[in-house]
């Protein structure tokens, strides 16, 4: 078995992985990126509508800053997020977007003067200021107080990923394409790289590294209906779980996006609603104001998705042979806007539905979209349990999204996390903790183990099919661990998944094709996906409250008193049935923004006794701050800048600053 040595091994070639790689490379570390597919084809490219960063350039963004972005994100998370991480993120997002602007992303720009927009179903004329002309503009998104989603038409992720990939090529960073990490090399709480399979030849290799970063994105494909790319099977999170040492955080926190096109589940951007699009029911009635008078179509995604399903359950959907759906109406935005600012949406409607959204309605229904959970790390992206293992982006839970992510915060997170985690990996490699004594015996042992695992599948004489079991897993997740969850059905899901795990031991192959063999790939991934699915289902069963995207019909209230806790799932070696769950307390007394009403969604929740105490503390702390300077006031409540790399600590400049 070939062994390749490097300082930093990044598993995943999307935005987070490539930015982390660039950061570590600039610090003088040798870096190799592994990617399942050519890096520019990563799922980051599918992000359409925008990247949240509080630049405050356009009219709708005026007065925006890190404080407002912070509050929106924490409310969006339903107070599940780590607030220090949210601060680090909102502080770095403007820097991330400005760096990308210099690197080549053609961000859409503010144009001075009047233009027509559509707000709340009405046409309105607004006027952009002279002094903002040519700066990066932004559009409205759900759950935000300001227009903050900076965009490149509706190909934002594509443009960002191409610029990032091109910069990685310029930095001479090798991307080993069509490579899949099968197992993390680890010993005694220290990670040393990975065993990797070449998806063109089927050959196994070992990569040994001082620091290993998982940046493999989400695991939406454990669901039947998902907006995710078909490569989003969560293998990065799964191999971290299979170490038995590292833990996964909040796996039950799964986001469903309101507007997957029906029935294919392909995403059309939140920008459709941000730019003024409306949701209509079977009678073509605009129903969201009935449920959410404050934010209407632009409440957070968890709330809008729930309201849509509620409305369908009330018999107000459109019936078709594939089931029921609702309508997205963007006709009122006009042909010019759609043809320039929503052109990917237009193409998707045209090719997959045969619909022209300038003239016709778009059939939509919520679909699985995002995994808030992932490899649990500290604020620097480092696993607390498995040293030398880092994670960034959707694959990680560091944890800035809590139980619901705001639209546009994920592409922003990928780049910000990459900027921070690239530095922390370089710091780690330069420190004494980064030193390693390489054991090639370790690589051989792990390589042997993976070879045996695969041989067990290849030589199996059982009668089960990996494709069939995968389908059953996906059906179970979509029907029983979806938007509305209930203890009884979660119990059934857990039991079904356990049966599937047992049946999985009898999966055999019909094909003995040489090379990577796609059937073998499906079979070994199924074993790992079932573990992730069980973390989601079992975590959801245990969490007897409703928070963000996790909604329990049998426990409909958010319960701060008992559940200000983050779920940690581990899969102890040899365990076949269920993950071991632990809980980590979120300390209200350390929060800058104590729990309250989000400004949309349910108003009733069970309070934690600390909330009132912390509010008193905050009030008295603020009364002693002599200045109106918002940075000083923030600093008095929850200092965070010391957690950032030194070059990311300074204030962000904005128009109108002195």
């Amino acid at each position: 078995m070939q062994i390749i040595y490097t300082d930093v091994l990044v598993i995943g070639g999307g935005l987070a992985g490539q930015r982390a790689a660039i950061g570590a490379r600039r610090r003088g570390q040798d870096v190799i990126v592994l990617s399942l597919v050519p890096a520019k084809r990563s799922h980051s490219s599918a992000a359409q509508g925008g990247m949240q960063a509080s630049l405050g350039n356009c009219l709708g963004g005026q007065g925006d800053n890190e404080d407002i972005h912070f509050a929106d994100t924490v409310r969006g998370s339903d107070w599940g997020a780590d607030q220090a991480v949210v601060r680090m993120f909102t502080h770095t997002a403007p820097k991330a977007i400005r760096e990308l602007a210099a690197w080549g992303v053609p961000w859409s720009r503010v144009k001075r003067g009047e233009r027509q927009i559509s707000v709340d179903g009405q046409q309105k004329t607004i006027s952009e200021a002279d002094d903002a002309h040519g700066l990066i503009t932004a559009r409205n998104f759900g759950g935000t107080q300001k227009w903050r989603a900076c965009y490149v038409s509706d190909g934002t992720g594509h443009a960002m990923l191409y610029t990032m990939s091109n910069q990685a090529i310029a930095a001479n960073i090798p991307v080993h394409e069509r490579m899949e990490a099968l197992a993390l090399l680890h010993d005694d709480g220290r990670c040393y790289g990975a065993i990797v399979r070449n998806l063109m030849t089927g050959e196994l290799l070992a990569y040994m590294a001082k620091a290993t970063c998982i940046a493999t994105g989400g695991f939406g494909r454990i669901y039947r209906v998902s907006t995710n790319a078909i490569i989003n099977e969560g293998m990065g999170a799964a191999i971290a779980l299979e170490t038995g040492v590292a833990s996964l955080g909040n796996m039950e926190a799964i986001q469903f996006h309101p507007t997957g096109i029906f029935p294919a589940g392909i995403l059309v951007t939140e920008g459709c609603r941000g730019d003024g699009g409306l949701l209509l029911d079977g009678k073509q009635h605009r129903f969201m104001p009935d449920y959410e008078p404050e934010k209407k179509e632009l409440a957070s995604r968890d709330v809008v998705s729930r309201r849509m399903e509620e409305h369908i359950a009330a018999g107000q959907g459109v019936s078709t042979r594939f089931g029921e759906h609702l309508w997205l109406d963007i006709r009122l935005l006009g042909a010019e806007h759609i043809n320039t600012q929503l052109r990917e949406v237009k193409e998707i409607c045209q090719y997959f539905l045969g619909v022209d959204p300038v003239k016709e309605l778009i059939p939509v229904r919520p679909a699985q979209h995002y995994s808030m959970g992932g490899v649990r790390t500290d604020h620097s992206g480092h696993s607390p349990q498995l040293r030398g293992l880092f994670a960034a982006g959707e694959a990680a839970c560091w944890d800035m999204h809590g139980f619901n992510r705001l639209g546009g915060n994920s592409v922003a997170e990928t780049v910000v996390a990459g900027m921070i985690v690239g530095e922390s990996m370089a710091d780690f490699c330069e420190s004494a903790e980064g030193d390693i004594a390489l054991s090639t015996a370790l690589a051989r042992d792990f390589g042997h183990r993976e070879q045996q695992r695969m041989a067990a599948i290849v030589n199996n004489s059982g009668t089960e099919s990996a494709f069939e079991l995968t389908r059953l897993m996906q059906e179970t997740m979509t029907s029983k661990v979806g938007i509305f969850r209930h203890g009884d059905r979660l119990q059934e899901a857990v039991a079904t998944l356990q049966q599937l795990q047992q049946r999985c031991a009898n999966v055999s192959l019909r094909s003995s094709a040489r090379g990577a063999n796609p059937e073998l790939v499906a079979a070994y991934r199924l074993q790992r996906m079932l573990k992730l699915a069980q973390c989601v289902a079992y975590g959801a069963l245990q969490r007897t409250e409703s928070r963000g995207a996790h909604f329990r019909a049998d426990h409909p209230q958010r319960n701060d008193r008992d559940w200000m806790r983050r779920t940690l799932a581990r899969w102890p070696e040899g365990s076949t049935g269920l993950p071991a769950l632990d809980y980590e307390t979120l300390d209200i007394m350390a929060m800058e923004l104590p729990p309250g009403w989000r400004g949309y969604g349910a108003r009733d929740y069970i309070e934690h006794p600390d909330t009132a105490l912390r509010q008193q503390q905050i009030d008295s702390a603020l009364s002693t701050v002599a200045t109106d300077d918002r940075h000083s006031r923030q600093q008095a409540l929850m200092p965070f800048r010391q957690l950032l790399p030194a070059h990311l600590q300074a204030d962000n400049q904005r128009l109108g600053d002195e």
């Binding site: 050519p38 210099a102 029935p263 998707i348 040489r514 090379g515």
Partner: protein, 260 residues
């Protein structure tokens, strides 16, 4: 009875695939036909997945986003390059022939190594913004301004998804292995347009001023006809050729020639 419209019987598709597995020394390129019952809204992504899951699990192909965004699934569909994921079977006849994109290294069956080709093209044409001081940026400061129309023009060319359809449709690319293709020339046009890139036409001439570059194009227009993103490739190539010819004729040293 006559008033009730008869439901059209589902078609049985006859999908013929050019197959070969280079990892298997005994494999010989051959055509194999699969019969498949058509379903509503079936795309080639759905059809091929179903064939793999129910008929031949060894069938190789590449899909990632299955939404026409990532450029993974370029293949020859009834003789023309296109994105399989967004090709609806109802728009095709009952007999469908699929083959891998030519001009790229074959991985197996319908899977080709476009990634390696595109990385090579990017390295050769240096498809990134060339500017001084990119490593010492002040990212706290307000960003440089850009005219809104300029950003839109750049994005128009930036929409390329490197699927390889233009290369597969190109006469020159079939004859010259080193031809950068419309995809490469479009990249040059994109960075040439970008005010952040400090390279001038003489620099670009060094990259594409010969027969493996812009002068290799025979103006067959296959690239523009087959581009799934409808990029104005022929226009860009024609314009670039004029600019590069101007550099050659002027014979001026690099720094004296200003891009338009």
């Amino acid at each position: 009875m006559e008033t009730i419209p008869l439901k059209k019987a589902a078609r049985t598709l006859q999908i013929t695939i050019l197959r070969h597995n280079p990892c298997d020394t005994s494999s010989v390129p051959h055509l194999q036909t699969f019969m498949l019952e058509e379903a509503d809204t079936m795309t080639l992504f759905i059809a091929l997945t179903e064939i793999r899951e129910t008929q031949d699990p060894s069938l190789q192909f590449d899909f990632v986003c299955r939404a026409g965004i990532c450029g993974s699934c370029g293949m020859i569909i009834n003789g023309r390059p296109g994105l399989a994921c967004r090709t609806l079977t109802k728009d095709l006849p009952e007999k469908i022939t699929l083959a891998p994109l030519p001009a790229f290294e074959l991985i197996g069956d319908l899977s080709v190594n476009t990634g390696k080709w595109m990385r090579g093209m990017s390295e050769r044409l240096e498809t990134w913004v060339h500017a001084q001081g990119l490593e010492q940026l002040d990212i706290n400061a307000i960003e440089q301004r850009m005219e809104p129309e300029k950003a839109e023009q750049i994005y128009e060319l930036e929409r390329c998804i490197e699927c390889g359809c233009c290369v597969a449709a190109c006469g020159t690319a079939q004859m010259r292995e080193d031809f950068v293709g419309a995809v490469g020339l479009n990249q040059v046009a994109r960075f040439r347009l970008d005010p952040r890139d400090e390279r001038d036409d003489a620099d670009f001439y060094q990259l594409v001023g010969d027969d493996s570059g812009v002068f290799g194009c025979m103006t067959l227009l296959g690239c523009e006809d087959m581009c799934p993103k409808d990029l104005p490739l022929a226009t860009q190539i024609a314009f670039l050729r004029r600019r590069m010819a101007a550099v050659a004729i002027s014979g001026k040293p690099a720094s004296k020639i200003k891009p338009e």
